[in-house]
């Protein structure tokens, strides 16, 4: 497909054109916080900040989504029903001739409640602009899960929305120190899941449509989107190469799954999770943590059933009615998250459940570092202890000012 070029000042017009037929979602800065929000005319897309606080997953897998509505209704008894049939446990109805017979025969001839159930599934067409290749890859990883467990159960809620979502990713020019996509087979200009890739070059974007949906976007843009010159295409390639070079590779992926398996009872899990506060921040900012809970609410006779993000750090996540909790310890829950991403999920879907975006590192209240966890627990059992020792902080290596005397010392002196 032909490589295109879009002038930077033509971007609002492109988004405006796209917004005619779809909801356009892009990163915007509000109160200093960058989040994906619906685009409105006049709002400036924020591309300088590398990563929005949360990944755009909520636009395909909303945090809270009502999928059933129901209402209890009083139903008048059918004509000729026998009044006062026993409501006891004798079960005359068993062996009757289907539900109609039950309704007419075995039930008391007084108005009784029935329930009307309606399934909801809203899936407006949408374009997500300005996500990063790692975010797009997160969708590909979630697709596997919601595509049905080994192809068994197909999730209509996620998939109907995913089918009408176009992902327009923007190449990362300045990866953060917390990025590690390349260690997981990704890249600042990764194409997995991306419908069209925008790369920022001098004065605009080099646009590569990668799928039919991406081509459709190019079609929408019309005249604003000309062919890229060779120089522009070369510049884009240079930007990509430079960015890729800036991403650290903090660990070797090879063997991590097996080592996590071998280290399952390693006391190192306890040491690593000491500073975990068991909140759900990492899972809620993650581009592919997908666990959810289902709850009902009923007000008088009308109610709804909704699913809402849940997280494996929630102590009540696995707690059973009896009070027994299979993962009662913080260390169990901590282990579950990392093992899920690098062992359980790979076993099922032959891929990873992590894109290396580093959001969990940036937003964890105590900055728990998934790279450190993998370096230690993803190492061969014997080596785990050794690596734990070497990951102890070495201020010299980072040129840290922590070595510098704190001002309090100055005053004391």
């Amino acid at each position: 497909m032909a490589i295109k070029y879009l002038k930077a000042d033509a971007l609002p017009a492109l988004l405006e054109a796209l917004a005619k037929n779809a909801r356009v979602v892009a990163p915007f800065k509000r109160d200093g916080v960058v989040q994906f929000e619906p685009w409105q005319s006049g709002k400036d897309v924020e591309l300088d900040v590398l990563l929005a606080k949360q990944s755009p997953k909520e636009w395909v897998f909303p945090q809270c989504e009502t999928y059933l509505k129901f209402g209890y209704r009083m139903e008048e008894p059918a004509q000729g029903a026998t009044a006062g049939t026993a409501t006891g446990a004798e079960g005359e109805a068993i062996g009757g001739e289907g539900a109609a017979a039950v309704a007419a025969g075995a039930e008391p001839a007084i108005p009784h409640e029935t329930v009307e159930v309606e399934a909801l599934n809203e899936a407006p067409a949408q374009v997500i602009f300005g996500l990063r290749p790692c975010d797009a890859r997160g969708f590909v990883q979630m697709d596997q899960v919601f595509g049905g467990y080994g192809g068994f159960y197909f999730d209509p809620l996620y998939n109907s929305r995913r089918a009408v979502t176009t992902l327009l990713a923007v190449t990362c020019r300045d990866p953060r120190s917390t990025c590690f996509c390349t260690a997981l087979g990704g890249c600042p200009a990764g194409q997995e899941g991306v419908d069209a890739l925008f790369t920022q070059v001098e004065g605009g974007f080099v646009v590569e449509p990668l799928t039919e949906k991406g081509e459709a976007v190019v079609g929408t843009a019309g005249g604003d989107l000309g062919d890229a010159t060779e120089a522009q295409a070369a510049e884009a390639n240079a930007v990509k190469a430079e960015a890729t070079g800036k991403v650290d590779v903090p660990f070797a992926l090879e063997g991590i799954r097996d080592h996590l398996h071998d280290n399952i009872d390693d006391p190192g899990w306890h040491d690593l999770c000491m500073r975990c506060i068991s909140c759900g921040t990492c899972t809620y900012v993650c581009p592919n943590c997908y666990c959810f809970s289902i709850n009902d609410e009923l007000v008088e006779s009308e109610g709804e059933r909704y699913r809402v993000w849940d997280n494996c750090f929630n102590p009540l996540y696995t707690e059973e009615t009896s009070g027994h909790n299979p993962r009662a310890q913080k260390s169990n829950r901590f282990r579950n998250r990392f093992s899920h991403k690098f062992w359980y999920y790979p076993d099922k879907y032959d891929s990873l459940l992590c894109t290396g975006c580093g959001r969990c590192i940036m937003h964890c209240p105590t900055r728990i570092d998934i790279r450190e966890v993998l370096r230690i627990m993803g190492a061969a059992p014997g080596a785990a202890a050794e690596r734990a020792a070497t990951t102890a902080v070495t201020p010299a290596a980072t040129g840290a000012p922590t070595g510098a005397p704190a001002p309090t010392d100055g005053k004391e002196a």
Binding site: Q35, T178, P365
Partner: protein, 322 residues
């Protein structure tokens, strides 16, 4: 000897003597702009402990119910002035066992608000250092900037009344000068702006600010005085005080539940505020609550070991109501 050296020395001594199973302090995070809680189990490892203007974590969090690992461990902990007040609040209610604690007070003259620094750059901050009242910040792309320390302090620090620990077994170096607490009432000027809004504006503001909440429970779990964290009524279905749905109603009620449940124990340490991944200014409403509590009782939470939180006591001579 610097405070940092004192901390290391106290930690090494306590670990060597077997007074504690592990010692909680601060260490450098994944780069030189972050400090994270450190859990030291061996005297040989105390050199990772640091003390500087980035040590914002309230380590008392790691003492509350279900946090010690193994349960019943003897723990050494570093506390700043504000942290020590949360510790005292827990001790007042006998929610932690004083005999299993070894507390090192760290006199503090202000912690940097890293979020405020982040707002100054589009780029990632990789190093923050502080000397002689100047804070220098370096970013990944090589931008550097210097700030006056008082400009980038946490709000809580600019009005601090307890810079020294109110309860400690040992103190890391000489105390910093105490403000005149008897002569001067607390400074509540930070909430004046909010107070001056009309009821409608307040409601609109709250709705706007709290609608960002993702209900990740970071504020509740990081709160040192929020002790029923794994049995929290915010998550309970029986009774169901707040729905698990994620709407503005539920988010607001969720935050109010947190606020009222720590009334009388919360010294506005600001840990919730700093933990919030979507940067909701939780601290401010807690300050407002504390202002009212101060007006009602002249009470500052967590300042005296022999007090009880005001809502666990009563006085027949209270003059409330009609």
């Amino acid at each position: 000897m610097s405070r940092q050296d004192h901390i290391r020395e106290f930690a090494a001594k306590a670990l060597t003597e077997g007074r504690v199973d592990y010692f909680i302090g601060w260490k450098q995070g994944h780069n030189a702009s972050e400090v994270v809680p450190a859990f030291v189990k061996e005297a040989a490892a105390v050199d990772q402990l640091v003390w500087n203007e980035l040590c914002h974590h309230n380590l008392v969090t790691f003492l509350k119910r279900n946090m010690p690992d193994p349960a019943g461990a003897k723990i050494g902990v570093c506390v700043k002035g504000c942290d020590s007040r949360t510790l005292v609040a827990l001790l007042q209610e006998e929610l932690i066992d004083r005999d299993r604690l070894y507390v090192v007070g760290v006199p503090c003259d202000g912690i940097i608000d890293r979020r405020r620094l982040e707002k100054e750059f589009a780029d990632e901050i990789v190093a923050v250092s502080c000397s002689d009242g100047r804070v220098s910040v370096a970013t990944r792309k090589g931008n550097e900037k210097e700030f006056a320390k008082e400009e980038v302090l946490l709000d809580a620090c600019t009005r601090c009344r307890y810079p020294n620990a109110v309860y400690a077994d040992d103190v890391a170096g000489p105390p910093v000068p105490e403000p005149d607490r008897d002569g001067a009432k607390p400074d509540w000027s930070d909430v004046a702006g909010y107070e001056s809004l009309s009821d409608d504006e307040k409601q609109a503001t709250l709705e706007k600010v709290y609608s960002a909440c993702v209900r990740c429970f970071a504020c509740i779990h990081v709160c040192p005085v929020c002790v029923c964290w794994d049995k929290c009524v915010n998550r309970s279905r029986q009774p169901e005080l707040v729905e698990q749905k994620v709407g503005t109603k539920q988010k607001l009620l969720f935050q109010m539940i947190h606020m009222f449940h720590v009334a009388g124990r919360c010294p506005s340490c600001g840990a919730c505020d700093r933990a919030c991944p979507v940067e909701i200014p939780l601290y401010l409403l807690h300050r407002k609550m504390n202002k009212e509590i101060y007006d009602m009782f002249g009470f500052e939470p967590g300042t005296k070991l022999d007090e009880k939180p005001v809502f666990q006591l009563f006085d027949v001579n209270d003059r409330f109501g009609d």
